[in-house]
Amino acid sequence: MRQTPTVQSPLTLNEIYAALAECAGDLKIIAGGTDLMVLANAHQLEASNFLDIWRVDELRGISDEGDALRIGALTTYTQLIRAPLIQQFIPALVAASRTIGAVQIQNRGTLGGNIVNASPAGDSLPVLAAYDAALEIGSQRGTRRVAFNEFYTGYRRTVLAADELVIAARVPKVKAGERDFFCKVGTRRAQAISKIVMSAKAQMNAASIASIQIGIGSVAPTVMRATQTEALLVGATLTPDLIEQARQMIANEVTPITDLRSTEHYRRSVTGNVLTKFLRQIIEGAEAR
């Protein structure tokens, strides 16, 4: 017979750490529940004991740390959408949050949940990748900082130890003159899981690209940075020829699969097209200026 799962609902971070230190492997952490409860409803979640962290307010909130924003792990998508700091300094994260589920999900789903759920299709993740975010990870043993782009070690695998919790993301602000971009391709605007999702940032120096970072989801076992394509673009003059080269390169750089949402061929083509859209926007923006 299955045991009835127990639920602990701590009120402080220290209580979370203590609970994780005591019985780490057995505890399933639940925040907004928008991923976990779907599995539970489908009976795909092993009977387990739950650590409900929803009431730990010290994990909420957005603070200005000068060149970066610190976003508490329990911050919901609705809070991100409404926050003037995020609108001003990480606009792609507002755009991403608005594409996640619909308002019912945005009111409950959290940034930390999206990160640790570790789905390659998590829509906030390409933004964190493109912005070179860092994660604050805590446990009774202390706090450490891990680069977001080194957090995933494989499909749904992360560097988190069993007694650790992601407590915040630290996201560098967009710089003056820097262009940022977010585009999700799904079956409809709301409630869809991405076929491909991309966020990018670029800084121009006259007609050439001084820096560019491209984060992509749903095209590899984890969210990825298109480092080869970035290397092609950095320092180069942005011309239609270069855009065409970048389109072909990124279509080969991603490693998508065919699944129920889309095909490998479609995902490669559309990744190239979405990058083209961003690069053309940069040219058109420069001409308009």
């Binding site: 799962p5 639920v7 609902s9 639940i30 529940g33 928008t34 409860m37 779907v38 539970a40 409803n41 489908a42 739950f50 409900d52 929803w54 009431r55 609705t78 589920g101 619909a102 308002v103 019912q104 999900i105 009111n107 409950r108 605007r189 709301a190 409630q191």
Partner: protein, 138 residues
Amino acid sequence: MRRLLDVLREDLRLTGTKEGCGEGECGACSVIVDGEVINSCLVPVCQTQKAQILTVEGLAMDGRLNGLQQAFLECGGAQCGICTPGMLIAARALLEANAQPSRDEIKEAIAGNLCRCTGYVKIIDAIEQAATAPAQIL
């Protein structure tokens, strides 16, 4: 971990709130928790301690339909009825935050609520009509 939806329907016998998909896609189980619309199939009841919860049963006033419900009736915004409680609740959450929404804002507010009968136009009409007389809604 019991779901808020099951406690509402089974313990409290508030069966106006429906279960559709059970995975946060359809919005039939929408209720308002502390002012925010959520899917009650995805919320464990332990996270709603001391929260103020509004279900479809709480919309009527003194046994009479409120302005939002009346508008659904007049515009043909309800057909089979399974999505209606969730639609009403999503619309209520919208109108509390934005008393004069545009049609696009209405569409966005009900993007998480699926209806297979109406084609949505009459639902949007109903919410738009209700917004013209906010005093009879909130």
